[in-house]
Each structure stands twice: as structure tokens, then as C-alpha cells.
Symmetry: C2
Subunit: 334 residues, 2 copies
């Protein structure tokens, strides 16, 4: 099925809320055959995810922009990498990223493993010159030799194993038991009347054409954004400046195609859209209805949908802080 | 007792290792009368300590430079604050800082509470314009209103309460049960023969004149550094460029006076000295013996003392990651 066909199929699925919205968030995420989730890999991945020594300056970890103590990102329009460089896209949340079909805003990575390899060597993110340099640095840290051995049965540290461990950890970052999850499991009091109104409206106007399923990021994978648009809006928001998937493929047909992002915990992850230009959820809802569905929502309608989106905030599992193995004799002196 | 007198008294105390080195690290830290340690304050302080929203850019938390997942600092010569600005002194460890008599390298803060107020509004560290701005930002976060209420019985958020909570949390950051602690408690096998040799040598040559007591940072408070010095060394290390306490007081007599830093976990906190110019512990030991005690140590002697210092690495308590309360509608967009 082509990308556009999958979009059409998704829209065709829109119907009543009970038919369209019925799936609670799973409490475990599926893992690829070549990277089964194990406690040892998760432990190693958690260390690597939070270790600023994976960056050139020793100051930026995966968690710096995908903050696991917050909503899985940094509440910034563009994240800050090494040397205070600011990225062009707003960091997507790492919570429930395991349920994305593709990763990055432009969907250029097919898996969490592939995604994890990217920022580390991105010059404006973590700034390492190469994964060989990352591996060399990790090899100097005895505690990592031990942790890799436990996780993979070998002390050999590699990009492949490091990204597998990070992905295994990320698969544990799931926020179940939101009011919405309780509701679809049968607790009809878990949502307020306003939230139910907002849910029904979201289905009725077609939000769920793209945002349904347990993570509200399917059934399709990519979607064009923005659709109904004009120069007046562009002057304010610059949404078309970045062409999304086409920046990777160079193909005309991929222009302005974006991964459909999850709506889980969306109330926690302002600012919104790929460039983080929109600070509040009500503004984001209003613009999405206008640009994607050609609908002008009333204040009350926006408020109802926002109330429903608030019901997608889940429970964040308690996590133990990793103890990072010490560096000895190697520092980030200039 | 004047600063210099306290130094002399400290040196006079040097003697045999069993007399000088006999104190294990306490497992709890004393708290000031106006800030008793409570679980609610510790929980709030842990949140604040790890919250990057206490910085102007939303990217730098206390933990960015005083990394609680590592040895309590960042393994850098100068820490990196907002806008990639680099500080002039190497971040001291937060682990066991509760046992310092004064805080900061120059000892300019008399308490953890006073210290905690500093970096937040330092323009090259966390860059907030004022504590009023910090308070205003925290006030917009509902979860903090709740946490302050739990900790202090009032929803009023203030600099005073915020720094008290951070200090209360820091008082829990203690690393007991190092091999040395086990040794002084009676387990004579906890140290290797080499470590015992190193310990005895440290006492014999006078290291313990300044570095004794449970945290190896007393009995005095300040010490002159460097003492035996020359232009050749200065050309390499720039140790005298920064005048320490005199930078604060402007007094000639305070030039090159520094807080005696703890030696606890010193193996984890490279690079060394106030300016972080020395990358390895053996080099640091060699230079300290030469500059402070006018001793030329052999390679074996250095190695013995380093082995002893390794025995000061304690057990790091497991900590639960704080869940930071969400920001809604306020972001760090420019």
C-alpha cells in the first residue's frame, strides 16, 4: 500500500468513537527478533541513554532532549545540542516511542535501534565525530565493559550493541492507565462528560483518521502537513519551510509528509508541531482542525477536544536512576 | 581561630594513621535548626535539583554539572552553562558536600542553602535573571505548588524554601561503606597492603594535615594553595591566576586560600584542582606533595597513595528518578 493510499484507508476507517477508539495502550512493547528485551540490555540502555559522555563535550545525553523525568522531551521548540547549537525540529517524546511505526519527525528511521544511532553523531546534537569514537570512549570505561558483557555475552562494545541496548530501554518507556485507557477498559467514569464530548468530536470531525489506535498515531504512518494552507499562515508559522520526508528522499511526492506523531501525553509536550512554533494545545487543536480538516472549531469545541487530550496523559513508571560507571583519567579538558 | 591559625592547628594534628585516620563517613548529615531534613523536603529538593527549567534556556539543571548519576560532577575542567558558556572552576562533587564546612571552591557560602542560591542566577551557569524569575516560573507549574505545600505547609514558593529543599536533598547524598570505612570499623581486610602503605604514607608526609576527618576535608577549613611554587609550574598550570577566597573578599591575606576539598570518591572526579588542569590522580598526588609539602614522591609512593585514595570510593545509594511536574502552555520558544 502506498503512503497516500494508507492515508486514504485511514480516513475511511473514521466512524463512531466506540468503533474507532477502543484500544488501551499495551503495557509492553514488541521487540524485533534480533533484539529481544532483557533486563540486562534494559539496564545498559538506561545507562547509555542518560550518559552525557556519549556527546563530544560530555554534556549532552539522549535524556537532555528526551527528558525521562519530564514528558520525554524538553519543552523547547528546538533542542539544544553541544556548543549551544539549536536543532530545527522539536524533540519528539521518547515515552511510548516504541509504538511508533517509524522514528524521527520525518520517519527516516525504521526502528528505535536505527533512530538511536542518529543524534550521537549529529554535529548539532551530540556532536561525536563517529561511532568509532563513541565506542573507543566507552571502551575506556571498565563499567561499560562489564555491562556490555552482561547484556550481550561479550565485552565487545559496538554501535550495533549500544543502539540495541538503548532501544531495549526505550521499549520500557510506556505510560499506561491514562483516564482514556481506563475508560476503554470499561470504567465509564474515568472520563468527564466534557472529555467524552471531546472524544466524540475528535472522531466526528476526523482527527482519528490519522490519530487512532492505542498510541493515536495510526492506522497510517505518514501524513501530509499542512494541507489547507495559505501564505498568511505560512508567514506566521513557517510550517512549509521544512519539507519533512522529502528532505531525506529528495522526492517531490514526499514533500511535507511527516510521521503521524502520538497524541499520548500530548498535554505535557508543548510546544507543538515539527518546528515547535505553537505553544499551547488549544492553539494546536484549532490549527490542526483548520489545516488538516478544513474545519473552524468554536472555542467550546476546542476546549472539549483539549479536555479529551488531557485524558491521554498516562502513568509514568517509577524508575531507578542509573549509576553511570566512572571515567578514570580521561576528561573533557580542552 | 583565624583561618591561618586553623591551618596550623590542623598540621599539628598530623601523626600516626591510626590516630589521624579513624573516622568512618556518617550515614546521615546534620541539618541546621531552621531546615530539618524531612522526606517531603528531600522529594521536592530532588525535583528542583534535576529540573532544567531552573535555567534560562530550560536546558541546565543543578545535576547537569553535579551529576548524581556519576561522581557528583561532570568530569570537565570547566562546566558548561547556558549558551555553552564555560565556567572558570571545576565543579566540585555534590556527594558528601553536606560534610563541607563551607561551600564553593572559595568557601564563600557558609551552608548548602546559601550555595544552592548561587548557580541559578549566575549568568554563565544557569542564567536566570533573578530568583524572582525562578519563583515566577515555578509558580506556573501546578505540581510544584503541591510539592512546596507538602514540604513547607504553604503553597508560597520562595527562594528561601527552594534552596532549603535543595539543601535537604543534598544532605541525603552520602556515600558510606568505602573500603576505608570498612577498615576503620574493624575489617582489616577491607584495604589491600598497598592501600595501607598508601594510607600510612599520606599521614607520614602530612597530607592528613589538611585532609583528615570523616570527609578528609578538615580539621581546618581553608588552606593556601599552591605553597611551594614557581614560574615554571605556573606556566604549565595557571594555579595562581585565580586567587580563590580573595576574589570574594578582596583581602590580600585571603589570596590563594581555598576550601580544603573532600577526598571522598576522588578517583571518580577527574580532572583535579580548582581549574581542572590535572587529568589524572597520580599527577594530582605528585603535584600536591611537591607544592604543598615540598616532597618529591617516587613512582611507587605515588602509586601507593593513589591506591589508598581508590579506597575512599563509597557506595552510591540507589535513587528513584524524580518525576518532574509538567509545564503547560509555557515553553522555551524564543
Amino acid at each position: 500500500m502506498s503512503k497516500i493510499h494508507s492515508v486514504i484507508a485511514a480516513i475511511a476507517l473514521a466512524g463512531t468513537s466506540s468503533a474507532v477508539l477502543s484500544q488501551a495502550l499495551p503495557t509492553t512493547a514488541p521487540a524485533p527478533a534480533d533484539n529481544p528485551t532483557t533486563p540486562q540490555k534494559v539496564a545498559l540502555g538506561k545507562m547509555l541513554f542518560h550518559d552525557p559522555r556519549l556527546s563530544s563535550s560530555g554534556t549532552v545525553s539522549c535524556a537532555s532532549c528526551h527528558n525521562t523525568m519530564l514528558g520525554g522531551e524538553d519543552n523547547r521548540a528546538g533542542s539544544v545540542g553541544v556548543e549551544a547549537q539549536v536543532g530545527g525540529r522539536s524533540a519528539p517524546t521518547v515515552w511510548n516511542a516504541a509504538f511508533n511505526k517509524v522514528q524521527f519527525w520525518d520517519g527516516r528511521a525504521a526502528s528505535l535501534e536505527e533512530q538511536a544511532a542518529g543524534p550521537v553523531t549529529n554535529p548539532i546534537e551530540m556532536g561525536m565525530k563517529s561511532w568509532n569514537d563513541v565506542v573507543s570512549r566507552l571502551e575506556t570505561i571498565e563499567g561499560y565493559q562489564i555491562a556490555f558483557k552482561k547484556a550481550f555475552g561479550t565485552e565487545t562494545i559496538s554501535k550495533d550493541n549500544a543502539t540495541k541496548a538503548i532501544a531495549a530501554y526505550e521499549r520500557t518507556l510506556i505510560t499506561p492507565n491514562s483516564p482514556y485507557d481506563k475508560y476503554v477498559k470499561g470504567d465509564k467514569k474515568a472520563l468527564t462528560e466534557q472529555q467524552v464530548r471531546g472524544m466524540n468530536l475528535a472522531v466526528e470531525i476526523g482527527c482519528t483518521g490519522c490519530h487512532s489506535g492505542p498510541a493515536f498515531n495510526g492506522p497510517g504512518t505518514f501524513q501530509k502537513f499542512p494541507i489547507n494552507y495559505n501564505g498568511y499562515l505560512e508567514a506566521q508559522y513557517d510550517f512549509k519551510k521544512d519539507t519533512g520526508l522529502a528532505e531525506v528522499t529528495g522526492k517531490k511526492e514526499d514533500e511535507h509528509l511527516w510521521k503521524v506523531p502520538t497524541l499520548r501525553n500530548i498535554a505535557l509536550t508543548a510546544p507543538y508541531f515539527h518546528n515547535g512554533k505553537i505553544k499551547t494545545l488549544d492553539k494546536a487543536v484549532k490549527l490542526m482542525a483548520k489545516m488538516q480538516l478544513d474545519k473552524n472549531l468554536s472555542k467550546e469545541e476546542i476546549s472539549d477536544i483539549v479536555a479529551f487530550l488531557d485524558a491521554l496523559t498516562g502513568e509514568f513508571p517509577k524508575q531507578e536512576m542509573p549509576t553511570l560507571p566512572p571515567t578514570t583519567g580521561t576528561t573533557f579538558n580542552k
